[in-house]
């Protein structure tokens, strides 16, 4: 008996020594691991603001619903109750809830409070909730291709959300603490915290109100002229700030709507042949080189043969003696080709380089295109003639606008920017510097170009771009598209680019419509009215006073010119029905929308000024 007692005592003693002394560290760590809990601290994703501090994108916590399939005893019953509430197919839920190899499956992520409350009321065992951030875009699809979007894990998938992912997502932290069996923190025990850093906010240069106006005006016109789509950009030429950047697409129902976040931000990602809007570069280069003056006279027929190609003006006319300023106002292809030939390929190509064609703009943006400008020695005669009138090269709308902004800025390039400032995790706002441009044109050339471009609006092809109270300078563009490997006579880019006030430029804008119907193929008819509307709004929004009390002189002359040509310059405001209404078949068809616009006298089918 005594031996047994001694042995037992010895065994117990040995075990105590083993636990408390020999393997002390191991058991201590096991116990600690049982109590220690590491709680991840999510870093809130940074917000995106417009230039006035309005939220364009922000993250708000929402409940995600999850389930433990090992606890769920009736997957079919659960799925039947959950499916109608969370908007997930019942079969999908059954599949998830039946996977007993897992202890965690999502039922639905970042649901609205009402949905979460409804699921909570079901009181289903094994179903629980965790908070997760959900990205909201309070203004809907406003500037959506610029902003981009985020994935289910909150990672940027496009636009600035993708480009600035590194700064927006912040730095997650963690909290290590000891918990009791009920999950409560044990006081005066181990507690370590690595603070999370909220993501950096972006303050964009966009103006929400102007962006909306641009999108609405552009969409209305795209609908009215049955274009495939359109883009528009507005820039402050004194800073390079992009105030609005819109992409609009016409849907199958015939109505145009602002592009979604999944679409390309076409002013930066897509290229096009600019056509006559590119003539400002040809004329500016020729003036700068001293090849021509504004009054240099040319003998201008309505066609010209270059090598084996024949180039024509948009309208037939007899041979005329035209000064350069008249050639510009009338947008004569023949005259411009003559000027291009006098300038030469090298100098024209140098001008393209100087204006920033062929390289991405200063804006950092995913998928931004460089444009296509072939080497001058590849142009030959036809290439030079084509390039002089804006063919044979491809530019992004932003690059084209940059050329106009340069003239507006006194001949100094204006590097565009899309991000005005960032706000760090500690709330410190850090302004992004305004880049310095380089001089491309002399003051004398700029003054002449402004005069030429003002005349385009006063009595030339761009009369619809006139704004009451101000003087506008600009240029129309009507460029044939390549269809089936050849330039089409039925498919065009209609564009207008310019700036205002011409005397002291503040804003430059570009509007491009992709394939408007044939009757509205001219930039002066399809794009100029949109330019006028959005420029007028921008000037009013930024309280830019008319420079002179006589500012309506151009307006009066332009109105008279438009009336003489039978052109109605108003943008018909046709509201597109909601996309879901369209899906439900309640939308008005495209044809009926055009009929409505025509009936309202907003769509003209008559002869228009030339390109």
């Amino acid at each position: 008996m005594a031996v047994v007692v001694v042995v037992l005592c010895g065994a117990v003693t040995w075990r105590l020594v083993q636990v408390q002394v020999i393997e002390n560290d191991r058991y201590e760590s096991l116990a600690m691991a049982q109590r220690l809990d590491t709680v991840p601290i999510d870093a809130a994703r940074g917000s995106v603001f417009d230039r006035n501090g309005s939220d364009l994108a922000l993250s708000v916590r929402r409940d995600s619903i999850w389930a433990n399939p090992q606890v769920v005893i009736d997957p079919h019953g659960y799925a039947a109750q959950l499916a109608p509430l969370v908007g997930v197919e019942e079969t999908v839920l059954v599949q998830r809830l039946s996977d007993r190899t897992k202890e965690f499956v999502y039922v639905a992520r970042a649901v609205d409070d009402e949905v979460a409350d409804a699921v909570r009321d079901l009181d289903l065992a094994g179903v629980d909730f965790i908070p997760e951030p959900k990205r909201f875009y309070p203004a809907g699809d406003l500037a959506a291709p610029v902003l981009g979007t985020v994935g289910t894990e909150g990672e940027g998938l496009g636009g600035v959300e993708l480009l600035y992912e590194d700064v927006l997502h912040g730095v997650p932290g963690e909290l290590v603490l000891e918990r009791d069996r009920d999950g409560r923190a044990i006081p005066r025990t181990v507690r370590r915290q690595v603070a999370a850093q909220r993501g950096t906010d972006l303050v964009l240069t966009l103006d929400q109100a102007l962006q909306y106006e641009v999108e609405q005006s552009l969409a209305s016109q795209v609908t009215a002229v049955a274009a495939d789509g359109g883009v528009a950009v507005v820039m402050d030429v004194t800073t390079g700030d992009v105030l609005a950047m819109a992409t609009v697409l016409r849907g199958d129902d015939g109505f145009a709507r602002p592009a979604s976040a999944l679409e390309r931000n076409r002013p930066l990602t897509d290229v096009y042949e600019p056509g006559s809007t590119n003539k400002v570069v040809t004329y500016a280069a020729a003036l700068e080189a001293g090849v021509v003056g504004p009054d240099t006279t040319f003998e201008v027929p309505d066609w010209i043969q270059v090598d084996d190609r024949v180039f024509t003006d948009s309208e037939e006319h007899p041979v005329r003696q035209m000064p350069a300023r008249g050639c510009f106002a009338a947008s004569s292809n023949v005259c411009t080709i003559q000027i291009g030939q006098a300038l030469g390929a090298e100098r024209l190509h140098d001008a393209f380089d100087a204006f920033g064609f062929g390289v991405p703009t200063a804006i950092e943006f995913p998928g931004q295109a460089s444009g296509i400008v072939r080497d001058a020695d590849e142009w030959h005669e036809v290439g030079l003639a084509s390039a002089a009138i804006g063919y044979g090269l491809a530019v992004t709308p932003m690059q084209m606008l940059g050329a106009y902004a340069t003239i507006a800025n006194g001949g100094v390039t204006v590097p565009p920017r899309l991000v005005e400032a960032t706000i760090d995790s500690d709330g410190t706002q850090v302004d992004r510097p305004i880049a310095t441009g380089r001089r491309v044109l002399s003051n004398a050339t700029v003054a002449t170009m402004r005069s030429l471009m003002t005349r385009v609006v006063t009595g030339g092809t761009g009369s619809c771009a006139a704004i009451p109270g101000y003087t506008v300078a600009g240029k129309t563009g009507t460029a044939r598209k390549i269809v089936g490997g050849a330039y089409s006579n039925q498919h065009f880019f209609a564009s207008f680019a310019g700036f205002a006030p011409a005397e002291a430029p503040r804003f430059a804008a570009l509007v491009v419509l992709d394939e408007p119907d044939y009757a509205h193929r001219y930039g002066g008819r399809a794009a100029a009215p949109v330019f006028a509307e959005i420029m007028q709004f921008a000037l009013r929004l930024e309280r830019v006073a008319p420079p002179t009390v006589d500012g309506s002189a151009q307006w009066d002359a332009a109105r008279a010119a438009a009336d003489a040509a039978g052109t109605n310059c108003a943008v018909p405001h046709i509201a597109a029905p909601p996309a879901d209404a369209t899906a439900a078949g309640t939308a008005v068809s495209a044809d009926s929308s055009k009929e409505a616009a025509t009936a309202a006298g907003n769509v003209s089918g008559g002869t228009s000024p030339s390109a």
């Binding site: 601290i41 603001f49 501090g53 309070p138 909220r198 906010d201 929400q208 106006e213």
Partner: protein, 154 residues
């Protein structure tokens, strides 16, 4: 010095004659207590008292700490709820301030975009319109300090 002490009950002012007369009948039995024994008893009593008091103090301290932790947890929960409320309200404000909502509200009130814009020439002496624009950024004044206060998310 004697090493013993007489312990007797306290007597309040009886006369010696009476005391002597009564003492013969009711005199308490006197004991001789050693000094070390008295100290031991005193020490034990004090020790027990201190131990009990310490235990009570420990329990009370623990309860206070636990209560403090509960308060911290509760305040943390309230903080999260208020932060959530702030985010929801901020989102609501942003939605209501979006151009589409403002246009819809304006249309509902019967406001329309004018067909034409008329400009008037202001008198030279008229005050300029240099007052701060309503759309001027307030990020530095509002959001920046709020962002710091929002803290982390658990």
């Amino acid at each position: 010095m004697t090493d013993v002490a007489l312990r007797m009950p306290a007597v309040v002012g009886p006369r010696p004659a009476e005391e002597a007369d009564r003492g013969a009948r009711t005199r308490p039995r006197l004991e001789v207590v050693s000094e070390p024994q008295r100290r031991v008893r005193l020490a034990v009593t004090l020790g027990v008292l201190v131990t009990v008091a310490s235990l009570f103090a420990l329990v009370a301290m623990s309860a206070l700490l636990a209560q403090g932790q509960f308060d911290v947890d509760r305040l943390g929960g309230e903080l999260e709820i208020e932060q959530q409320r702030y985010e929801d309200l901020r989102r609501e404000v942003a939605e209501k301030a979006s151009p589409a909502q403002i246009i819809a509200a304006a249309n509902a009130l019967g406001l329309v975009v004018p067909d034409t814009t008329e400009y008037i020439e202001a008198p030279i002496a008229a005050p300029s319109s240099e007052e701060p624009d309503a759309t001027t950024s307030t990020l530095a004044e509002t959001w920046a300090p709020a962002k710091v206060s929002l803290g982390d998310r658990h």
